[in-house]
């Protein structure tokens, strides 16, 4: 069984950065801010590379939609073990309004073109927390989906997936081709070794535009306002359990 895997790689603000809202409340500051491969996409990449190492897959394709800088995360993906990378170039202005619905159509088109057997995406991006792209991509393609995967096993043309859901763990079995979205505990991603970083230079990186793929990225949403959450107020101290109960009753909570 030699699968072709497509992995979504989004360039998002690095998790350690202190986010600042723009003064005009139109968004967050991204100029000059450190960006990195979305951590859940890193986990997705790791899973794909492990499948290749287990000889269950023979090609891993990394895809990123975004402005020119998105190529940085594609180079990271190539250094982690992807065989080739696709950059769907979306100019910066239009990227501000690019939504999962558009990305899912782009991924679906590429998956069909490349005759992909498995799409692995991060469960969500840490900038917008949408948690939609995987689900939408599966719907566009009419493929089965296994989201929030914490374990993935492949046998013949079937995937057994353990999912982390609100009630606990759910194990499902789906037929390939399918979409899987990676959750935190699926694996621990590797570091790109220095030799692999250097070798990644030679791997192919192909550019597309959404138009090439026949996808219309006209925004369907308008961002009205982006602001910081209200500052957390300090709590109060009480002297005894009785007083605590009294205070809670006063707040109207039963």
């Amino acid at each position: 069984m030699s699968l072709r895997i497509l992995v979504g790689c989004k360039r998002a603000i690095d998790y350690a950065v202190k986010i600042q809202v723009k003064s005009d409340l139109s968004g967050v500051v991204t100029e000059g801010v450190k960006h990195a491969l979305n951590p859940f996409d890193e986990i997705a990449m790791e899973e794909a590379v492990r499948l290749k190492e287990k000889k269950l897959a023979n090609e891993v394709i990394a895809v990123s939609c975004g402005p020119a800088q998105s190529q940085d995360v594609l180079r990271t993906a190539l250094a982690l073990g992807a065989d080739k990378a696709f950059h769907v170039e979306v100019p910066a202005k239009e990227y501000e309004t690019l939504q999962p619905i558009h990305v899912s159509k782009i991924l679906a088109k590429l998956a069909e073109q490349e005759k992909v057997d498995l799409i692995i995406l991060g469960k969500q991006a840490i900038d917008d927390d949408c948690n939609q792209t995987g689900q939408m991509t599966a719907a566009v393609l009419n493929w089965p989906q296994a989201t929030f995967a914490s374990k993935l096993q492949l046998k013949d043309k079937e995937a057994t997936c353990e999912r982390e859901i609100d009630g606990g763990l759910e194990t499902i079995s789906i037929k390939l081709p399918a979409v899987v979205t990676a959750d935190l505990r699926l694996n621990t991603p590797r570091y790109a070794t220095l030799p692999n970083i250097m070798k990644a230079k030679k791997k192919p990186l192909k550019k597309f535009s959404p138009k090439d793929l026949g996808v219309d990225i006209t925004p369907r949403q308008e961002i009205v306002k982006v602001c910081e959450p209200p500052k957390r107020q300090g709590g109060g101290k009480v002297a005894s359990t009785e007083e605590l109960v009294e205070r809670i009753k006063k707040l109207g909570v039963n």
Binding site: R75, Y191, T193, L194, P195, I197, M198, K201
Partner: protein
């Protein structure tokens, strides 16, 4: 009279506008190219970020433990090899990373931010051992050792002895010829990496009557009979970096293990140390920066007299001064590295870089302890370790005084002063 004044003002405004327009034209024609020393290639950026992450996430948690044990942990040594940090310039066909000298400098700097011992281990391997082998090794030596150095073997450079440090050519270790073998006798001291090294590049004199022109470089396997590793020096800092005596008692080495040419060892030593000291410069700026970053974070939190200690003007002046010195040191190191890569003369700049970076690191770390106050003096905080670790920077791979001698010699030899 007013008319003349007006002409003057108009002309002045015209000239100024023209000047501004010219400047604007200049900047638009060059603004897409970053000509600062912070101009890194994509690979260099990736390498720097990856090693920075690796160092912070995997190495930093083990730093105290390694210092207490006086040794680099086996898993950290393995990590260095597995991630390609020990063969940065070695070509891919030998299993190396196949990157550039500047990449090595960036890697050594990033490691220095976290631990000076790990940084120096990486620096010696890449800038001394690997480079010597790649520049001078026969195909036999390259094929035999480069793959090992890239994947699992540490190398040591044996030059100094108890009676020859700065006066390196006064070395007494000898190598006498017996057919196609040489027998090495002598004692090397202060040998870094020696505890775990699998191969030693030994400078020995094949013909003491020729003085330094008899010094030859031998590649000696650790398990060669007669080679013993002596005691590890009990040092002030860099405790996880082994610094042992290496004894040679009738150590027989085949002549095919000679690196380069007989009697040229002195040249090789000087030339490799010219490059290696850029690496030490990188280690020093890494140490200084790592210490500085942690300290500034503290000064922004710690409050006294109702304000952050960072807010006191006295503190700000000291901090700015140190930050400026550190920036200057980094630029000297980066510039020397880029000059070397470009094949331009770099010896004076390299000496300046090592001298300045090591002195700045000592000043920076000392100031950082002051700024931290009492906690800077305790081992619970990482600051005092940086202070101890960087002290050797003004001593090894050419003391500050030797660097100053070198710089003066080159100034004197410069025909541009008249």
């Amino acid at each position: 009279m007013f008319a003349i004044r007006n002409i003057g003002t108009k002309t002045f405004r015209l000239c100024r506008n023209l000047a501004q327009k010219n400047v604007a034209n200049l900047s638009t024609s060059t603004d897409t190219i970053n000509r600062s020393l912070y101009n890194f290639s994509d690979e260099e950026i990736q390498l720097k970020e990856t090693v920075g992450r690796l160092a912070r996430e995997k190495i930093e948690p083990k730093v105290r433990e390694m210092e207490q044990q006086g040794d680099v942990l086996p898993e950290i040594r393995q990590l260095m090899f597995d991630n390609g940090l020990m063969g940065i310039e070695i070509p891919g066909k030998y299993g190396g990373t196949e990157s550039s000298f500047f990449s090595s400098i960036l890697v050594v700097e990033e490691l220095g931010k976290v631990d000076g011992s790990i940084s120096v281990m990486c620096d010696i391997q890449n800038t001394l051992i690997n480079t010597l082998l790649m520049q001078l090794g026969s195909d036999y030596l390259k094929d035999k050792y480069l793959p090992r150095l890239a994947t699992d073997m540490i190398g040591s450079f044996c030059l100094s002895e108890s009676s020859s440090g700065s006066d390196a050519f006064a070395m007494r270790t000898s190598a006498s010829k017996n057919g196609d073998y040489y027998t090495i006798n002598g004692n090397k001291l202060w040998i870094s990496n020696s505890k775990h090294a699998g191969v030693f590049f030994v400078m020995a004199n094949v013909n003491p009557s020729l003085g330094y022109k008899g010094i030859t470089c031998f590649v000696v396997d650790r398990d060669t009979p007669g080679l013993t590793i002596g005691k590890n020096e009990d040092k002030l800092g860099l405790l996880a970096s082994s610094t042992c005596a290496v004894h040679f008692d009738d150590v027989k080495v085949h002549e095919k293990n000679i690196l380069g040419k007989i009697g040229q060892g002195y040249k090789y030593a000087i030339s490799i140390l010219n490059e290696g000291r850029i690496g030490i410069g990188a280690q020093m700026i890494g140490l200084a920066q790592g210490c500085f970053d942690k300290t500034i974070a503290y000064t922004r939190e710690r409050q006294q007299f109702g304000q952050r200690i960072f807010d006191f003007q006295g503190m700000q002046h000291q901090i700015s001064h140190v930050a400026t010195q550190l920036e200057a040191a980094r630029l000297l190191v980066y510039n020397a590295a880029r000059l070397k890569e470009a094949g331009k003369p770099f010896i004076k700049e390299a000496a300046m870089a090592k001298y300045f970076a090591s002195e700045v690191a000592c000043q920076t770390t000392s100031k950082c302890i002051d700024w931290m106050g009492g906690v800077g003096y305790t081992k619970d905080y990482p600051i005092e370790k940086y202070y101890r670790d960087c002290k050797v920077g003004t001593i090894y791979e050419g003391t500050s005084n030797i660097q100053l001698n070198t710089i003066a010699k080159l100034i004197d030899a410069d025909d541009n002063f008249y």
